[in-house]
Symmetry: C2
Subunit: 557 residues, 2 copies
């Protein structure tokens, strides 16, 4: 056993980053004095599981308590102090001031290395009526218990914010038979995604009875028998209670008071080894500003995966600095399930790239999640954005009824490896009929991107309202009639007839080809382009633009 | 429209590679004369679906006929000649001799570019009795129909060869209520994988009543009311019919007769653009020798995914040579489902690396396919092999009850990108409780590999039969008692007691720590190593070595 003086490692915050750092530290040094300070009563609990306990999908509350102070003592020999708040850092003296929440008693604890992993707190903007106890936020097991209790007698629930947690809550409340209104300031659900990639989710929420109030912000709450959400449009949404999930604010008071450097948006600034501006003080998790792997700029990612790995890296850097690897940066990979539909993103969305003013190209493709001839094939839509100069992937979004997580993970790995659109088209993914296709949708996205770069297809993401444009629907006549393209003056020429009938089109006027999935329209565009037409193909087809359930063929009678 | 003389592109073989080349060629050149020659009656059919039609999981035979000569004419303006065999190539004259199978009539067809995509034929070794019509192989829709017909009255079926197709057939026959014996020369099912990674599959087959005859080759067949497989051990397996799935032989007669260069194992040699030794003759699909992405040496991969992409590349190189990208090489990514269990591989197995004499390290890890606290979490086992010098991943194998395809695809992407074990530990994969874990099993494999490199853990893949070794089972006492480690002299010290009880161990003798999953044993190894013990941890735990269903905890009473 190491006979040198034990290193004193103090960790403020005992959930994802803090608990990961503590566990890793113990594996690296049996001798260290590791103290985990947690204001709340729980450590290392499964915070991503809270909505599912409220909705009854997770039945055992104990399942969420991944560790307890007792198990952490037994397994890891950690000194865990719950119900204890850190209220000050004496950096010169290398000690933190602690206050016992219950008694108010304070004491000082010395450290050799300190980790700040305080997390982030749900936003509660200063709106009229927000102090009503029926306006909930969800962070701790206690918040969860309060909401869980409130659901028993509630009939109508308003969820404010249609991000990941808002969608999970809406789904779980519907599961309990509640009437749910989902209020979102932006004109779409799941704001990190580009709007077209959220249409399927929107449709799925409506099919399950969720009332959507999109493009409408909250301006206050009116108290009565029910609590009424007052929206900026003037709309009023009455509910038995409200869950606010409109974002989080990093808990940086301790860091700021200690004079540690903060980033532009007020998060704790760290280097690639999670060191703050004080080399003996580290920070990790939702409170920090980290490095973006795509933009190579500072970013904020409040997610469990990165928090865990950041915490682990802190322990590595403290106890084995020579072999610690710098944090490569975050992608913000995230996914949500709402009923049968999943949707998610890795890397940057089109709107984020646009806002940053970077050059890019995008395509959207449709396919089945596994071989179409195998029973149970479900639709999936994939959007890919890439750098037109290097071909490097900048981001990907996926939505569908199955296999969304798999494609996001493949693309997150591709992003981590700096892969290009050419690499995607060559990926050799696992294929047997129950699992995939000989050409997976990720390959198809790569093919389509390369075709775009090579000028074989010119994808357009909307049907232009331009009388000179000839909009050609290349689906079979019966399908075109049953599910018409929502646009005036559309010409239907089914693909098999196109070679013979292209004289019906005016070669001096531009053409946009349209189909359900964006594949047949590409085939048609190739036929027309080689006959001298200026032609664009609607990327992602009707599914990605107008109707996420637009059929690719009519049911056989 | 292109006014130059149309290019004459002749393709021999109309399934995966051939049909892909034809379709891509048409998109690139409306003007080309594209002729698809196919000996059989079908083109572009879903050959990976054949077992599932036999077993009734795919109900519509039409679902397997992806395209017909008529649809290929209508959609792609292809000249498709089924029932036509290519019997000779006049390379100097740039023409192929064709024979109509039905009439025997021959003719010559000129080409500017020729593609050989003849595929491979199932092996039928010259064994006594093999000519019996009850000994089937499966390649075409007609083979499928014959086996499908034979199943109606059959009770007992023997499948020879426990590779991908053999396992699919065994599963489907059980689905039909048949008694199945699966015969395999090697001592494991799914020979491309390392044996420990096939234990779960083996167990699953037995649970479903499949009789396994492993480590036993076939020496002939005895004809009678039934057909009896005579095994090398002397064992006799009677069946109503037999399916032979022991491998394939490339159809290279045409190439060889034309004097084209062949590889060491007799496959058609091609360059990175799929050109044979004659620059106007290409080859693609199961008949070629391709480039291995891991070993960077020639290899043979008879799989649908690579075949499709090779065919596509041929068309690119013929019609747009300047923008065609060289084939990056194959990984041999493959997966199979047998009942509830899936298993697969990407890149190289440990035994393949060993046979090549390359340096390597391996770890095996266990986890759930998504967050353990979310209902429906299923076990998954992942084995990772890497280059100890560069850290580059060499191969990965996975097996489990869910999420196997996802992890293989992530690792195939990592292999394609040349990622290292450090990169794996940092992958930011999609996480929400229904989909994954904050630390995915792929991250955990990366962590474990890095820990191995750093000397934090010394994984061992078996319990040594060495009296000086102290085997320490660190599971809870009740679990250790209920599911004992199958080894003599095992000492049970549950992890939480280890720090206090390590004096019970002899520090002068080596220790091997053991648990169900290989995780607690790693924790224990860290505790002991820091107290001066020479300690190794059983990688993958009891699950990966002895019992793939070894429980991680006892059910709560």
């Amino acid at each position: 056993m190491n006979a040198s003086t034990p290193l004193r490692f103090v960790i403020i915050g005992g959930v994802a980053a803090g608990a990961s750092a503590a566990a890793r530290a113990r594996r690296l040094d049996e001798n260290a004095q590791i103290t985990l300070i947690e204001r709340g009563p729980d450590v290392s609990f499964a915070n991503c599981g809270l909505p599912y306990y409220i909705g009854g999908e997770i039945k055992q509350r104990e399942a969420l308590a991944v560790q307890t102070p007792q198990t952490l003592k037994a397994m890891l020999n950690l000194d865990v102090r719950t119900g204890t708040e850190a209220i000050g850092i004496d950096r010169a003296g290398k000690r933190v001031q602690l206050r016992t929440v219950a008694s108010g008693a304070t004491e000082w604890l010395s450290y050799d290395k300190l980790l700040l992993a305080p997390g982030a707190t749900p936003l509660r903007p200063n709106l009229p009526g927000i102090e009503d106890p029926r306006v909930h936020t969800l962070r701790s097991l206690q918040d969860m218990d309060r909401i869980h209790g409130a659901t028993v007698s509630a009939q109508q629930i308003a969820v404010v914010g249609a991000g990941f947690i808002g969608l999970e809550m809406a789904e779980q409340f519907v599961r309990l038979g509640k009437k749910v209104t989902l209020i979102e300031m932006l004109d779409q659900v799941l704001p990190p995604l580009d709007r077209p990639m959220t249409l399927l989710l929107e449709d799925e929420l409506r099919r399950h009875g969720v009332e959507l109030a999109l493009g409408d912000g909250i301006s206050g709450f009116e108290r009565g028998n029910q609590i009424t959400c007052l929206l900026k449009s003037g709309r009023r949404v009455a509910a038995d209670f409200v869950v606010l999930s409109i974002g989080v604010r990093p808990e940086t008071g301790l860091a700021r008071d200690a004079g540690l450097a903060l980033g532009e948006r007020g998060h704790i600034h760290v280097d690639q080894f999670m060191r703050t501006s004080d080399p003996d003080v580290y920070a990790a998790g939702d409170a920090i500003e980290t490095h973006d792997l795509v933009g190579r700029n500072p970013t904020v990612v409040a997610l469990g995966g990165p928090a865990n790995r950041e915490g682990r890296l802190v322990a590595d850097h403290i106890f084995r600095p020579a072999s610690a690897k710098p944090f490569p940066g975050a992608l913000g990979t995230a996914i949500v399930r709402a009923f049968e539909v999943s949707a998610g993103i890795t890397g940057w969305s089109e709107k984020r790239i646009r806002a940053a003013g970077l050059p890019f190209r995008c395509v959207t493709v449709n396919d089945n999640h596994h071989a179409g001839y195998f029973p149970g094939a479900k639709p999936i839509i994939l959007k890919l954005c890439w750098d037109p100069v290097s071909g490097r992937i900048l981001g990907a979004q996926a939505t569908g009824l199955a296999g969304v997580d798999k494609r996001l993970d493949v693309l997150a790995t591709a992003l981590a490896g700096g892969l290009t659109i050419d690499d995607l088209s060559e990926l050799e993914l696992s294929y047997a009929p129950p699992f995939g296709s000989a050409k997976d949708i990720v390959n198809i996205a790569g093919f389509t991107a390369v075709n775009t770069r090579e000028g074989l297809v010119d994808p357009i993401d909307t049907i232009p309202d331009e009388p000179s444009v000839q909009v050609v629907d290349v689906r079979p006549a019966a399908l075109s009639k049953a599910h018409p393209v929502p646009h005036a003056g559309v010409i239907n020429i089914p693909l098999p007839e196109l070679r013979k009938r292209c004289s019906e089109l005016d070669a001096s006027r531009p053409v946009v080809t349209v189909c359900a999935l964006g594949k047949t329209s590409y085939f048609a565009a190739r036929i027309l382009a080689q006959r001298g037409f200026r032609v664009q193909s609607l990327t992602g087809g009707l599914r990605a633009r107008f109707d996420p359930r637009s059929p690719a063929k009519l049911p056989t009678p």
